[in-house]
Amino acid sequence: MKEKIDTKVKKIEWSNMGIIIALIVMVLFFSFSTATFLTPNNLANIARQISIVGICALGMTCVILTGGIDLSIGSLIGVVVVTCALLMNKGVNPFLVVLVGFLIGAVIGIINATCITYLKIPPIITTLGMMISLRGATYLISGGMPIYGIPEGFKILGQGSIGIIPISMIIMVIVFIFGYIMLNKTVFGRRIYGIGGNEETTRLSGVNVKKEIYKIYIMVGLLGTLASLILMSRVNSGQPSAGDGYEMDIITAVVLGGVSVSGGEGRLSKVIVGVVFMGVLANGMMMLNINEYWQRVVKGIVLIVAVAVDIRSREKKAKLKTA
């Protein structure tokens, strides 16, 4: 019996290696097939690109761990970006603008959480509605036009670097360290896993599940704001299309990292790999001059394959269990 359990653990870990092997193969492929992929400049570029998805991925990981999903994150980025850009354009103190940005993020989180806990609307519907409305709001605020006039000093967030390491990358690493500790070493983290694993047990263990859901969605909003500020700084403007479709990249990265869409299972350490995977894939395809439409086709297939692998490995586990 003991032996059986041991081999099972090994097998699961082996299937977990899949994404890492795929990443290595992909990096090798792009390195040899393009002259530009493996240059310091391009690697820094990838780091900048993934920092936005990466920061949001922590929030998404928490949401998916509880068995929910957040489709509104891309539109949240849009709203925060154009609002902050507009305020900066009007000459409002950048620190105050940043504060407003975080406030917007938190409020959106609160609205999402209220719909989910008190109105009992499933997360997928709640955030779908939010995604549509917030994108509309983004166009209303910006009047459909890009907003310029962001102070020079603000560029440093998305474009600056310390040595060759981009600042946005450093922020992402800090966010991940924070997230890792939170998920693995705090009571809050345990509760997140608990809610996704068995909500009733969590409740009967004296956890106010609603309160925890609020915390999670507020955190998602705050992380989304952080990502928005980096994005705005990177493109040095407020584009009404900012963040459009990001929710899909973020969800794909998280699922690719092995977080179960039914909740309760998944490790942040592997989500990082998922994030890097998505970044390398997008960048490499660009280097190969694959057109944007094909890029979308590939990303979609990656999502489906990732979930299929996830479900298959889960079924295998279940079979091993009954065997």
Binding site: K2, I5, T186, V187, F188, G197, L204, G206
Partner: protein
């Protein structure tokens, strides 16, 4: 004498370690309502499952209309005309009554479902039962009682000859019950053989022609209903050697720690009781009598609509399990997997789930060393058999899983501990350990509340027993008054008697 329509011959069903049914032979004839009675675990469910082919007997044969049923399966038995109506109804709630009755057997017209014919046929079946339900109504809009009638109509429409009814009355109101009785009598007149499983004595005596008693997997005997009495049936059901498996215990009744006054929830109607330190208070009653609901109400898991709870003499508002834990109440829930465990978490994470917040530093980070230490202690103390504390709980046996839950609550050092069916599905050895633990807790001066459907266990482990029926308390027995007959009598007390 007419030949039996259904006969079971020498049925034995072995599970690893236990015989669920041991050489049972029994026959049923047309136009007869035949009650099957026995305690939980007596083998009634296994018996039904053998008839419907849901499980295969280890030995013996099922004979229907004189022919042995080969390779029995639910499909096969249904095709022959045997159907079972379970407590959990098998209806598609978002479809209409007519669609449910003829589900998957729709008449078609030009490739499309012929709804006119469907409703006409459904009306006919319902008329046959004397039920007035609009066949167009959605099942979800019907009461449970009517839903049950739809289920009966569904089987009627399939030319059923043997109908098995598993606790059909459990969820019904009195009016619905009368209705059900009428229908059972109608079906009987039509020549159907009905197997009626129920815990309620009154109903068995009113409705049934014969009664067969099961006990511990053995068929005891079959009697004509007019040849027996309620007392005799109960005695036959529970006549078990009360082996001395329960540790000797002398209660030291201490302070009154919990007083519940007239609480009502959606299911409870004015429940009042008291619990004392050092005493083991048992709750008896049939499934659905309100024992679990009482526990959940006290624990804040269900909303209390009215009534008061006093803890240590102080009026206390308990609106959530969070509040309950704060006031020193713990609940070991009846459904381990759904309510007590995180199957995909480790033994350690399960044990420390509640306690963890007490061993965090200023930043909210759990002290891992301390956590492993205390979890290790619990595992050792409760002798949880696991290769390591990092093992997933789902890989543990039922008894060890239960110990993990106990460990989680022992850490919290609560004063009032409610055990809801703590030994369900657990092997004898682990049961014994849990009994000892319960006694130990009472000896430490905790108030123990024990809910159990196993009467011998409840009687052996309680110093006082409260009996519930239909959401109310129907009686209270002091240690000296406790006996099985009394408990069963109180537990099957109908509502009118109480009112």
């Amino acid at each position: 004498m007419e030949q039996n329509i259904l006969e079971l011959r020498h049925i034995t069903k072995l599970y690893p370690g236990v015989a669920a049914l041991d050489d049972v032979s029994l026959g049923f004839s047309r136009g007869e309502v035949h009650a099957i009675v026995g305690e939980n675990g007596a083998g009634k469910s296994t018996f039904i499952k053998v008839i419907t082919g849901a499980i295969q007997p280890t030995k013996g044969e099922v004979v229907f209309e004189g022919k042995k049923i080969e390779d029995n399966s639910p499909q096969k038995s249904m095709a022959l005309g045997i159907t079972a109506i379970y407590q959990e109804l098998n209806l598609l709630k978002h479809l209409s009554v007519a669609e449910n009755i003829y589900y998957n057997r729709y008449k078609k017209k030009r490739g499309l479902i012929d709804f006119a014919a469907l409703e006409r046929d459904a009306s006919e079946v319902l008329d046959r039962l004397g039920v007035r339900i609009d066949p167009k109504m959605l099942v979800k809009d019907l009461t449970v009682g009517y839903q049950q009638l739809v289920e009966i109509a569904k089987s009627l429409s399939q030319n059923v000859k043997v109908m098995i009814m598993d606790e059909p009355s459990a969820a019904l109101t009195n009016n619905e019950l009368e209705y059900l009785f009428e229908i059972v009598k109608t079906l009987k007149k039509e020549g159907m053989a009905i197997l009626y499983i129920s815990h309620r004595m009154e109903e068995i005596f009113e409705l049934c022609d014969k009664v067969s008693v099961f006990r511990d997997g053995h068929y005891i005997r079959t009697m004509n209903i007019e040849d027996t009495t309620q007392e005799e049936l109960i005695r036959l059901m529970v006549n078990r050697e009360l082996n001395d498996t329960f540790p000797a215990f002398v209660p030291q009744r201490g302070e009154k720690i919990l007083e519940v006054k007239n609480i009502a929830t959606e299911l409870l109607r004015g429940v009042s009781f008291e619990a004392y330190r050092g005493e083991r208070l048992g709750f008896a009653g049939l499934v659905g009598a309100g024992r679990t609901e009482t526990a959940r109400a006290v624990y804040g898991a269900d909303r209390i609509l009215q009534g008061e709870i006093y803890i240590r003499g102080e009026k206390t508002k308990i609106q959530s399990p969070e509040d309950a834990i704060k006031h020193g109440i713990a609940l070991i829930p009846e459904d381990r997997k759904q309510q007590g465990l995180f199957l995909n978490m480790s033994v350690k994470d399960n044990i420390s789930f509640v306690y963890a917040s007490k061993i965090t530093n200023g930043l909210g980070i759990i002290n891992r060393k301390k956590e492993e230490e205390i979890c290790g202690e619990q595992i050792e103390k409760l002798t949880v058999k696991t290769p390591s504390m990092h093992q997933f709980v789902k890989n543990l046996s039922g008894g060890n899983q239960q110990k993990v839950i106990l460990g989680k609550w022992l850490l919290m050092n609560c004063d009032i501990i409610i055990f809801d069916e703590p030994t369900r599905g657990i092997d004898v050895g682990a049961k014994q350990e849990i009994y000892e633990l319960i006694d130990e807790l009472a000896r430490q001066g905790k108030a123990v509340i024990l809910i159990s459907s196993e009467l011998p266990e409840l009687m052996g482990m309680s110093d006082r027993i409260i009996v519930m029926a239909e959401g109310r308390i129907s009686g209270e027995l002091e240690k000296s008054e406790i006996n099985q007959e009394k408990i069963l009598e109180l537990a099957s007390k109908a509502q009118e008697v109480l009112a």
